[in-house]
């Protein structure tokens, strides 16, 4: 018998070699208690959270929690069914209404996760003879959406406007084209030049899908994302988003002004063949989304946090993913996996949790310590965080 698991041997060996060195497993952390959007207890120790996607700190919002509790009481713990059968409750419609209002768009469709939203929309709208033109650093859910469908896939170099334009020009003018972009790329925390890219794509007759997972809630005047901030949201055909970041729960969505959009509810398999979100989840999401519409002060504070952390880390001598802070993600580039894991552990011992990111999630084989800020991190916490980075960086030899 051939062991189907033999293909994983190189990864198993790499992992055990790393752990034999005595380092704590960076991919096996358990939070014993969560005190707030910015603090949890890990291994019995109070830990500042700097590696969550809780950008707007909505997870403990009293209105959000009250809405969830009420929905649990009134509608039960789950729908036990697909959106197209018994799985659409008033709450599912209400959260789609909230999204339409938030984005000022005609249609909103809610999926059970953000991953499924990309999987479903991309695989369904781009057919066999159509082309998907995508940034090489696209999220796994975008690539998996391509793999689930059977369109022709054309990648272009990350954020390279000329590379996109060249490829669009080589495609037959009459063929169906979908350009897939992200507002914020989550590994390095850099934003896309959407203004130029959307214009080029539209000029070439392509439809444009933008994943705004990491920008919703705080980038753009109304928190609609990078497309709003760069003034091109009206030219974007589909925006994909998630409830698991700024919204603070779980779920995914697509919003659009396409007049035929609603047909997707019948033809999109990752929407049809899975259970809908529990009533408590859609209730918390709807409440959170409506509150995010009026969170200008929090947006300002989050930007201040990002700028302060970025400048502070740079001053300490760390190499960062972007020259200026583009979003609430700040990526600290590590020389290799061993140093990254040692630094990650030293930070955890200091009382700070960040994400250790590795290929295939990261571009160009990089090891990153990815920091994501929250609007509820206080000024003092950002100061504490910088102190911890200084201590851990010196202890591991990352900085002098």
């Amino acid at each position: 018998m051939t062991d189907l698991f033999s293909k994983f041997d190189p990864l198993i060996e790499m992992r055990s070699a790393l752990l034999e060195g005595g380092v704590t497993d960076p991919f096996n952390l358990v939070m014993e208690k969560v005190e707030s959007p910015t603090v949890a207890i890990c291994n019995g120790k109070r830990t500042i959270l700097l590696g969550t996607y809780n950008y707007m700190g909505m997870t403990f919002d009293p209105d959000v929690i009250a809405a969830g509790k009420q929905a649990l009481d009134e509608f039960g713990s789950g729908t036990t069914g697909s959106r197209v059968l018994n799985g659409t409750y008033v709450g599912h419609r209400a959260v789609e209404d909230a999204l339409r209002d938030f984005y000022a768009m005609d249609h909103a469709m809610v999926f059970s996760t953000g991953y499924q939203a990309n999987l479903g929309v991309i695989s369904t709208i781009a057919g066999k003879d159509d082309y998907i033109i995508l940034d090489i650093d696209s999220h796994a859910s975008i690539y998996d959406g391509c793999a689930l469908g059977n369109a022709q896939i054309v990648p272009f170099r990350h954020n390279d406007i000329d590379a996109l334009e060249k490829r669009l020009k080589r495609l037959p003018p009459e063929t169906g084209k979908l350009v897939v972009l992200e507002g914020v790329y989550s590994m390095l925390g850099d934003v896309a030049p959407l203004k130029e890219m959307v214009a080029i794509s539209k000029a070439a007759g392509a439809m444009v899908l933008v994943d705004e997972a990491h920008s919703m809630g705080f980038i753009g005047e109304h928190g609609r994302g990078v497309a709003e901030a760069q003034g091109v949201i009206d030219d974007v055909d589909f925006i994909i988003g998630t409830f698991s970041k700024s919204v603070g729960t779980v779920g995914g969505f697509c919003v659009s002004n396409h007049p035929k959009f609603e047909i997707l509810r019948l033809v999109c398999r990752p929407y049809v063949f899975t259970a809908s979100l529990p009533p408590s989840v859609v209730a918390t999401a709807a409440t959170s989304i409506r509150k995010l519409m009026n969170s200008a002060d929090k947006r300002v504070h989050l930007w201040e946090n990002s700028k302060r952390l970025h400048a502070g880390l740079r001053q300490l001598g760390f190499t960062l993913g972007t020259d200026e802070p583009h979003a609430a993600i700040i990526a600290v580039i590590m020389p290799d996996l061993e140093t990254g894991a040692a630094m990650w552990e030293a930070l955890l011992n200091e009382g700070l949790y960040v994400n250790l990111a590795r290929p295939p999630a990261t571009p160009a084989g990089m090891t990153l310590l990815r920091c994501s800020l929250c609007a509820l991190h206080s000024e003092e916490q950002v100061g504490e965080i910088l102190g911890m980075f200084a201590a851990a960086g010196r202890a591991t030899g990352c900085i002098s």
Partner: protein
């Protein structure tokens, strides 16, 4: 020079700057195993090939191309 030989010569020329290990390249040379290219190198190389021949080589096509000779075949087909 026949067309195919000409295409092969151009491809070899485009491989050279990415042939960091100095591997002797022939039609049978495999991009992943012999040249040990990672995905970013492949992207850069494919972009250069696309520009040189003014064609598009989709990821679907790339998945079928393992060797230098197979790439030449694809380019010949695209030019036809």
């Amino acid at each position: 020079m026949p067309d195919r030989q000409h295409t092969l010569a151009k491809v070899l020329e485009l491989i050279a700057p990415f042939n960091k290990k100095g591997v002797t390249v022939s039609e049978g040379t495999r991009f992943a195993q012999d040249l040990e290219w990672d995905s970013l190198t492949v992207l850069d190389f494919v972009a250069n090939v696309e520009d040189e021949f003014d064609v598009l080589i989709t990821m679907n096509m790339q998945a079928e191309i393992e060797t230098v000779g197979q790439l030449v075949d694809v380019l010949e087909k695209l030019a036809a």
